[in-house]
């Protein structure tokens, strides 16, 4: 394995950076969209239920099928991959964000309203700080799940560690397979552990 890395460092480092890039871009876009949707969802229970139903449905579609569905629209490559990963994340993020925010200390929220905060001020000053654990847990789940699902993105030419796995399997190249699995699994496990530690400190 080490031998392989020494001989072809670019063949491991390349997919690894692509993978990280994929995860980062997805995360940024996912968070932007999820924040927007969360604000909408906080306005009414109906909108919230609707969004949660839609994204739980999307979430239940197998990733390969979702990739395949998008190819006619956005083609092969990173764009499709980022879209799919972002869609999956909405379920994880939205569900954690909305339940966390809704369940934030109801007495404190009522007091905030009673002393004259607007709904938006209650959201930013009271609910978000009180729901920070749930919010962070959602982000952690989204990161870990993106790291995992992003390996499949290689199947539509989006690059990433999946390349090592797919190519390794096709050519029965054991070091390649090992690097692919160790890095993707290791990244997921490590990130999960680190983020969980941060979460517990909050």
């Amino acid at each position: 394995m080490i031998e392989y890395l020494k001989r072809h460092p670019e063949k491991v480092i390349g997919p690894l950076t692509e993978h990280i890039w994929l995860v980062l871009v997805t995360l940024v876009i996912s968070l932007a969209i999820a924040s927007f949707l969360t604000v909408l969802a906080m306005r009414s229970e109906k909108v919230s239920d609707l969004l949660n139903n839609i994204f739980s449905l999307v979430y239940s579609v197998p990733s390969l099928a979702l990739f395949a569905l998008l190819i006619p629209i956005t083609g092969l490559g990173r764009t499709s991959a980022v879209i799919v990963l972002t869609l999956y994340n909405q379920y994880l993020l939205l569900r954690n964000f909305t339940t966390g925010l809704r369940e934030a200390d109801p007495v404190a929220c009522e007091a905030a309203k009673g002393i004259g905060m607007t709904d938006m001020q209650i959201l930013t000053r009271i609910r978000i700080p009180l729901a920070r654990k749930a919010i962070f847990a959602g982000i952690r789940l989204a990161i870990v799940s993106t790291v995992g699902i992003a390996t499949i993105a290689a199947s539509i030419n989006a690059g990433g560690l999946g390349i090592l796995l797919f190519e390794g399997l096709r050519t029965m190249n054991i070091p390649k397979i090992l690097w692919g699995s160790v890095l993707s699994a290791g990244m997921a496990v490590l990130l999960n552990a680190v983020l969980k530690m941060v979460e517990e400190k909050m």
């Binding site: 200390d105 007495v107 404190a108 009522e110 007091a111 009673g114 002393i115 004259g116 905060m117 607007t118």
Partner: protein
């Protein structure tokens, strides 16, 4: 013109068969100290919440300063009325100082003015500023938290104060001090106060007039002396008798 006027106000909750506030009419003049007395579930909290639009009436109307509050922006209205909520409801993630000055922060007061105001109010409610201002609510006892709740309600120097059992978790001695302190404040500043309690002694001691409520209805609204002299009905009479019998107990001990 009365500063607060209830006009046949009714409030019914969806899941309940009866009115939580049942055709209440009353007029409160500026500078009055009104206590609202009644047993648990009689609608005291609901009546207060109808006054700052946490609830809107199903029937009737509430006027503040002669204006139907249904037409007033609720946020602006609530900043004009200080509100001490029954369950205290301090913000657990903020220091005591920030708890007191959240609204001034939103109104962009300058830092010095806010710090001074927080210290001033902490002193007023009997908490040493240097000791308490940087603590978090969970580092305070229940009674201390209630006093911070009171300080928070006073921060904008509101003309009207709605207080929902503000001294509920405070021991008898501190309570007596706060009551006396509070009567002085009210006389000095000419604030109008609506003060909910289910302690008849507190209601009669503090109130220039007392609202006696039962099952959503306002049974009697008069000065303590008048209520004792002429109780409106059997419920009010039994309330006074209960207080009397307590008094007798103390007489006998002596």
């Amino acid at each position: 013109m009365p500063i607060i006027q209830y006009d046949n106000v009714c409030k019914k909750f969806d899941n309940s068969g009866r009115l939580a506030v049942d055709h209440v009419s009353a007029q409160i003049e500026k500078g009055e100290f009104i206590t609202i007395l009644g047993s648990s579930g009689c609608g005291k909290t609901t009546l207060l919440k109808l006054t700052n639009r946490l609830y809107d009436p199903d029937e009737g109307k509430v006027l503040v300063d002669g204006e139907n509050i249904a037409n007033v922006d609720p946020v602006a209205l609530r900043r004009r009325l200080g509100y001490v909520i029954q369950q205290v409801g301090l913000f657990p993630h903020m220091t005591i100082r920030d708890n007191i000055t959240v609204i001034p922060q939103l109104m962009k007061w300058d830092k010095k003015r806010m710090d001074e105001r927080a210290d001033e109010l902490l002193t007023l409610v009997g908490l040493a500023p240097s000791e308490y201002r940087d603590r978090y609510p969970h580092q305070l006892s229940g009674g201390q938290q209630q006093r911070v709740g009171l300080a928070r309600a006073l921060v904008l120097d509101p003309e009207i104060l709605l207080m929902d059992e503000p001294f509920g978790a405070i021991d008898a001695i501190t309570r007596l001090n706060l009551q006396n302190e509070f009567m002085k404040i009210q006389e000095g500043l000419g604030k109008t106060i609506l003060f909910v309690t289910h302690d008849i002694n507190e209601a009669f001691k503090l109130g220039s007039r007392v609202m006696v409520m039962n099952e959503g209805k306002l049974l009697q609204f008069d000065t303590p002396a008048e209520i004792v002299k002429n109780p409106a009905d059997s419920f009010v009479r039994s309330l006074i008798e209960a207080a009397r019998s307590q008094e007798e107990f103390w007489e006998n001990v002596r």
